[in-house]
């Protein structure tokens, strides 16, 4: 015994840490200084100069949206214009970039003609004095946006480890005439497209990431009840999947078994079911008389489902296991909390909650209901949150009035998950609702 103690003492005396140990296991809040310099236009042509400007502007807009980059204005760039074509990392004068405090910067060139142009684009690291992205894009002048989004994606991937979302789309419901139709656009509002022509009411689009198609519901003209449809954006083809006696309300894709969670009213009140690709019922998850259970949303690991229920009189957010067991209430503040969306990172749930002033605002909370955070303030209604596939952005609808939305119609906005950078991306003079960000 004595021996053991003395040995222990010996060990303790010699194991003093001769270093200052610090563990870092989360992301910080400081932005990364990034400079995007103009491309060298090798063909002196007005169309090509415009293409160059479009490319650079799109990359800037994309990266700015992420909210993690501090974009250094072009006028601050010190590199002489004569050096613009110098794309070899061994010959670039990195001091001119260090002096403007750019941690990373882009350079590149554009050549060819408007029908067949090619862009070389590079991202350099001031610290390692090395190129960290080298890309060549070719195509027509009408594909400049695509090239720019692709370059932005690669930049984000190399700096943050995760591909950007600049090539993703958002599906939503628009009201170009009196009817509500399924619509699609790029994540930033470009390439706006009214996809269907039901002439009734389409609702609840949700992406099927296995084949980049969509599920949604639309009122059937004969039964006047919303039924399940699928839509293939490539073929621009929409197809009815199911014909339940009651209504089909709200959809969420199950990432594990590739099923679809929805609420059916065939038993009198809305209950949550799991359906297969053909609209067949696989499992019933909730069973409560006279209680409405809707708005199911799967956790990214598919193990849990968050949903809305009025089982305790007010409309609140609950979660349960994917088999319907272990129901737990998550929201305790306010009288009307709805449309929960589980973040793709798995750590947060976004939802819309009605304020004391009777207007909806967007909130997030941890998946156990703690840490509720308000993201929108005093801007009329803010509803229907949906996460970008990387979980770094949120889209939602708001009927706030501004010079960009004088009519006060519901427009789609995107913002960071902390509520910063709320950016309007639709501008038509009619309502837009139920956005659903393409999942990957």
């Amino acid at each position: 015994m004595k021996h053991i103690i003395s040995i222990l003492l010996v060990l303790m005396a010699t194991s003093a840490n001769a270093k200052i140990y610090i563990n870092i296991n989360e992301s910080g809040t400081k932005k990364l200084p990034l400079a995007i310099s103009p491309l060298l236009v090798k063909t002196n042509d007005s169309m090509m100069r415009k293409a160059e400007a479009d490319f650079v502007a799109t990359v800037k807009k994309d990266l700015d949206l992420m909210g993690v980059f501090d974009l250094i204005p072009e006028r601050s760039i010190l590199e002489p214009i004569g050096q613009r074509g110098q794309l070899s990392a061994t010959k670039i004068d990195f001091n001119t970039w260090k002096m403007i405090d750019a941690s990373v910067f882009t350079k590149g060139s554009i050549e060819g003609n408007p029908n067949k142009l090619s862009i070389e684009a590079y991202l350099y690291d001031t610290l390692s004095q090395k190129e960290i992205v080298a890309k060549k894009y070719s195509g027509g002048v009408d594909q400049i946006q695509k090239m720019a989004h692709a370059f932005s994606n690669t930049i984000v991937e190399s700096l943050l480890g995760e591909k950007g979302v600049f090539d993703t789309r958002i599906a939503f419901i628009c009201m170009p005439r009196k009817n509500k139709e399924l619509c699609l656009m790029d994540f930033n509002g470009d390439n706006y497209d009214v996809a269907t022509n039901h002439n009734t009411i389409a609702l609840s689009p949700t992406w099927n990431p296995t084949n980049n198609s969509l599920y949604y519901t639309a009122f059937d003209k004969k039964t006047d009840k919303p039924q399940l449809y699928s839509y293939d954006p490539q073929q621009r083809f929409s197809k009815k999947i199911s014909d339940f006696p009651g209504m089909t309300i709200g959809l969420s894709f199950d990432p594990v078994q590739k099923l679809l969670a929805t609420s059916l009213t065939q038993d009198g009140n809305a209950e949550i079911y799991l359906l297969n690709n053909y609209g067949g019922i696989v499992k019933r998850l909730t069973e409560n008389k006279n209680i409405i259970d809707v708005s199911a949303s799967f956790s990214p690991d598919g193990k849990e489902v968050v949903f809305v229920s009025d089982r305790e009189r007010t409309s609140q957010i609950y979660k349960m296991n994917r088999d319907g067991s272990q129901v737990k209430r998550l929201s305790f503040k306010g009288r009307n909390n709805t449309s929960p969306a589980w973040s793709p990172k798995g750590d947060k749930i976004a939802f819309a909650g009605m304020d004391t002033d009777g207007q909806f605002d967007i909130f997030t909370m941890n998946t156990d209901g703690s840490g509720m955070t308000r993201l929108t303030y005093d801007t009329r209604n803010n509803e229907d949150p949906t996460w970008s596939p990387d979980g770094n952005l949120l889209a939602f609808v708001s009927n706030r009035k501004s010079k960009d939305n004088p009519s006060g119609k519901y427009q789609i906005f995107i913002m960071r998950p902390d509520g910063s950078r709320q950016t309007q991306i639709t501008f038509d003079n009619y309502d837009h609702t139920m956005p659903s960000w393409e999942s990957k």
């Binding site: 005396a13 010699t14 563990n23 990364l32 390692s128 004095q129 991937e157 943050l160 995760e162 770094n392």
Partner: protein, 251 residues
């Protein structure tokens, strides 16, 4: 009653054996303690971890261009060679002799001068005089400005040091941006100079992911200069020892 039956010499012999075993055990432990103390001394004076040298600045895949003589001011990340030994006297004598220098030699001289300039910028910790300190605690005396293990332990366990550690952690953490989930772990060693500038950055253990390692290096470099401790003793210790940052991302 039974004990009474044991004869006196027998009893004496028993006590003697017991005493002897006590003495042996005492001697054994004394020897152990001496061994440990001696080892500690050796550890401090001879086997101490050699001061870090920034030989590899980046992930291994990155090749840095060699610094040219033209660079008047070395970029802050050029590997800083530590003063290993004072130049030998006879070498100096050789140097002093006037000679016709070829171009190459003069270039060499300029390199040497540049190196000296670099060295003078970084305070070599071995050059500092031994701190004169009245030590009221029973800890071993300081030698050559080193910190004994007990002192290091005392400093590292102090609340001021904890607060400083937290401040450094926050500063570096603020500059670390990485979004991808997954299992990553990179260990970086670095030192700071009396101005708080980050020096001798070295990747001790790579995560195997180039992007993650780069994000780590970016975070460390962007945090320079780091805040300095306000207590003199902790400042001394922080300048003397090295930092080990473990950047982790776990699913």
């Amino acid at each position: 009653m039974l004990q009474n039956k044991i004869s006196e010499p027998e009893a004496q012999a028993k006590t003697a054996t017991f005493e002897r075993s006590l003495v042996y055990s005492g001697l054994f432990h004394a020897a152990l303690v001496l061994m440990v103390l001696g080892f500690n001394k050796f550890n401090v004076s001879i086997f101490k971890k050699p001061p870090m040298q920034a030989t590899v600045m980046w992930a291994q895949s990155v090749k840095r261009p060699k610094p040219t003589i033209k660079d008047k001011l070395p970029p802050p990340l050029v590997p800083i060679k530590k003063a290993e030994e004072a130049p030998k006297k006879d070498e100096i004598n050789v140097k002093k002799e006037p000679e016709v220098k070829t171009k190459e030699e003069s270039a060499k001289d300029r390199m040497k001068k540049a190196l000296e300039a670099m060295k003078s910028k970084v305070v070599p910790e071995d050059d500092r005089p031994a701190p004169k300190e009245d030590n009221f605690a029973s800890a071993e005396e300081n030698k050559e400005g080193m910190f004994s293990d007990t002192e290091v332990m005392a400093i590292q366990n102090s609340s001021e040091f904890g607060a400083y550690q937290a401040l450094v952690k926050q500063t570096v953490n603020d500059n670390f941006i990485w979004y991808k989930t997954g299992n990553f772990s990179t260990i970086v060693h670095m030192k700071i100079d009396p101005q708080g500038n980050v020096t001798n950055v070295k990747i001790e253990k790579s995560s195997g992911d180039f992007g993650f390692d780069q994000a780590v290096l970016r975070a460390v470099q962007r945090s320079s200069p780091l805040p300095l401790p306000t207590t003199e003793k902790i400042l001394k210790y922080v300048l003397h020892d090295y930092f080990e940052f473990e950047f982790e991302r776990k699913n």
